[in-house]
Amino acid sequence: MSNQQLAATTTSRTLALAEIVSVALSCLIAEWVFLSFLSRYRWLVIVPLLLAVAFMVLSQSAYGESARDLGFRSDNLVQTLRLLIWPTLIAVIIIFVVGWYLTGPPSLPRLLRPRLLVVPAWALFQQYALQGFINRRAQVAFGKGVVSVLLVAVVFAVLHLPNPVLSILTLLGGLIWAAVYQREANLFALAASHTVASISLAIALPLNVINGLRVGFKYFG
């Protein structure tokens, strides 16, 4: 590798890592600052989120990535679902067994919460940010493989701090989803898996164990 190539690679890697840090920081600012300290104006949380989304869109434009490249596609939906079905099923069984052991069967009111209706859209957005952006930039920095998969999972877990149960679960989920994305990039299938796992968590595990799925400063109160 020539010096020029080495310099270009280093620059690309540095930029990709800076992009990951920037988007992760926007999310952390939203969680730890806007949602926690702006009680009456918490809707302003949209500001760091919009900044992050605008940055991701501009970045994808700069890298020449199409929606199909990111994983908004249907041709590999079945293959991706096949990769995800067993890990998702195993996770759901474990979640329900643990929940049953801790509090008994899930109650009907928890199954019927209207809030659960937004989970699919929220899951798709999270997978877009996590895989369609962070995973792809991690691959720019480190290539496909263990390091980039681990980086994605760690970022996902950090965004769920200081909730210990969510951080551990998102680390594990992040590892699986990032690895699957590197084999088959399909965000709809990942969002489906994410939705099933999230709803299972919300209805099966006791609220005190997951602390109402709270993250950031809200976790404490």
């Binding site: 930029l15 800076a18 992009e19 920037s22 920081l25 926007s26 600012i29 600052v33 806007f34 300290f37 702006l38 009680s39 009456r40 500001v47 760091p48 900044l51 940055f55 501009l58 970045s59 434009s61 700069a62 890298y63």
Partner: protein, 156 residues
């Protein structure tokens, strides 16, 4: 969009976020710890007495809390008569005094601190602000309290 412009946007985004977080930090601090409480306290022969005023709402009565040696002792509303406070221009009326009785402290020296209790965030958040300086006092075997503080004048 080129990568060079992306870097510019990245820097701009970072600066904007820094400004936003700084503004929120300053705003939160002013909201949670507003600079308009002042007051003063001293050890009397039977306890801790003083006054507390909220400059932002001069006719409101401030809730004060007493801590001795770092431990919470009592809370009360500062609404006792203190004509001297109004005469000195610290308050618009005289009803800003407080008086905590102390009776169960061990013989020796202690430190009392009086805090103004402030609610913010739609009453979801409570913060304490120290009024004046810490008050050093001694109790003897008869339960008599002696003020050891050297500061005779009111403080913000």
């Amino acid at each position: 969009m080129t990568k060079a412009r992306l870097v510019n946007f990245l820097i701009g985004k970072s600066i904007l976020e820094t400004v936003l977080v700084s503004a929120i930090a300053v705003g939160f601090y002013i909201n949670a710890f507003p600079p308009y409480f002042h007051g003063w306290g001293e050890a009397t022969s039977s306890g801790i007495a003083g006054w507390a005023v909220n400059d932002n709402a001069p006719l409101d009565r401030v809730t004060v809390q007493l801590f001795v040696d770092g431990k919470f002792v009592a809370t009360q509303t500062a609404n006792l008569s203190r004509p001297d406070v109004a005469v000195a221009g610290w308050a618009k009326d005289e009803w800003h005094g407080y008086q905590f009785s102390l009776s169960k402290f061990t013989v020796g020296t202690h430190e009392a601190r009086i805090y103004a209790l402030h609610e913010s965030g739609g009453s979801t958040r409570q913060t304490l602000q120290l009024l004046g300086d810490p008050i050093n006092f001694a109790t003897d075997a008869a339960g008599v309290i002696t003020d050891l503080s050297t500061s005779p004048t009111p403080h913000r």
